[in-house]
């Protein structure tokens, strides 16, 4: 693929309605896909406690395409994902209905895929909160994923590109960043339902959220920094996901920005 006109679309059979996210501009061929799902994927038979817990308590199913991810890596990532959901529900009162959908027919899922450009991806499947988190096959197949991904993530942290997290969390940091995107979208869905925002497109909503959090950070906590990493300055959606990861791993008292995001998520806004 080599980055030539890369886009992001799910392909392959059995993709259960994952949206075709990129159809090109009508005049030129669409970009090459960067995410290819496994054909004939089905629910995993792997016997892990966390897999049963996600299925029974959260309505999130893990697919066979993750079977070649080493157990330690998968277990750690799914446990972290579960922790995020627990915190969102208990601390921030963001319901599962908004986070992961509702009803037995609306299951979120965890899958493996051939991707380029990223280690993990969160794709929203519909307007009800259902999502798929994909893990890149190229990054773990035939490798010690825990060691490899920790090292790769660590390089990006060391350069200041990504938010600093404890070194023993490097291999799960991508999952939490992706969950940050899903949390922001859950807030958007909730705000729309409560008519706090009406027809505001998501990208404009993201700018408004960033403004609101920065206002809290500056006015309430006198914070002078407005970003937690270089990547967070690329766009307001990545800004939210990076700040979310900072709050999740480093806690509320890490900076004015983490305090402000914590306040914002609790509904304590200016």
């Amino acid at each position: 693929m080599g980055g030539r006109g890369s886009g992001f679309k799910a392909t392959g059979s059995g993709n259960e309605g994952v949206r075709q996210l990129n159809s090109g501009d009508g005049g030129t061929p669409g970009p090459e896909p960067t995410l290819n799902e496994y054909p004939n994927d089905s629910i995993t038979k792997r016997d892990l406690k966390i897999i049963s817990e996600l299925k029974n308590k959260r309505n999130i199913v893990v697919y066979k395409s993750t079977d070649n991810i080493e157990e330690e890596f998968l277990n750690k990532n799914l446990t972290e994902l579960n922790n995020v959901l627990e915190t969102m529900k208990n601390t921030y009162k963001i319901s599962y209905k908004h986070l992961i959908g509702s009803g037995s027919h609306k299951r979120s899922s965890i899958k493996g895929a051939y991707m380029s450009g990223a280690f993990a991806a969160a794709v929203r499947n519909d307007g009800y909160g259902r999502f798929t988190i994909f893990y890149d096959k190229n990054s773990y197949d035939g490798k010690d994923a825990e060691t490899y991904l920790s090292a790769e993530h660590g390089k990006l942290v060391d350069k200041g590109f990504l938010v600093k997290v404890p070194t023993n969390k490097y291999s799960v940091a991508s999952t939490v960043h992706e969950m940050g995107h899903l949390v922001q979208y859950a807030l958007y869905r909730r705000d729309k339902k409560e008519s706090i925002v009406e027809n505001t497109p998501f990208d404009i909503y993201a700018v408004n959220v960033q403004n609101d959090i920065l206002k809290i950070s500056t006015n309430r906590y006198k914070e002078i920094n407005n970003s937690v990493s270089d990547y967070s300055a690329y766009n307001p959606v990545e800004w939210f996901a990076e700040t979310f990861a900072d709050l999740h791993f480093n806690g509320r008292n890490n900076s004015g920005l983490t305090k402000a995001l914590d306040d914002y998520l609790k509904g304590d806004r200016l």
């Binding site: 006109g5 890369s6 992001f8 030129t28 995107h181 990208d203 990547y231 307001p236």
Partner: protein, 96 residues
């Protein structure tokens, strides 16, 4: 989505800016390698931003004509970014 690599073009402040939605976008003078790197990022952002910021051949042509490139020179640079098929398809639908 987190990119696996830090794009090199960000080392040059003159190659990028931010639009009204605070999304990083390339300037008209960004070199072909920057477009290749940027398109990787743009692809990663589609699910989260719900917008496609990919620079397609037509957009690249418009960037370069704004800084006075001839069509010949634009096509020369396009070879470093797009596949032959993409360039041929663009030519069929070429809008000045």
């Amino acid at each position: 989505m987190i990119p696996k690599k830090i794009p090199k073009f960000v080392e040059h402040k003159e190659f990028y800016t931010h639009n009204e939605y605070r999304v990083m976008v390339l300037t008209d003078i960004a070199p072909p390698y920057a477009v290749v790197e940027y398109n990787v990022l743009a692809g990663l952002w589609i699910p989260s931003l719900e917008k496609d910021y990919t620079i397609y051949p037509q957009q690249f042509y418009e960037m370069r004509t704004r800084i006075g490139y001839t069509l010949e020179k634009v096509e020369e640079e396009m070879k470093e970014i797009y596949t032959k098929e993409q360039i041929l398809e663009w030519k069929k639908n070429f809008k000045k």
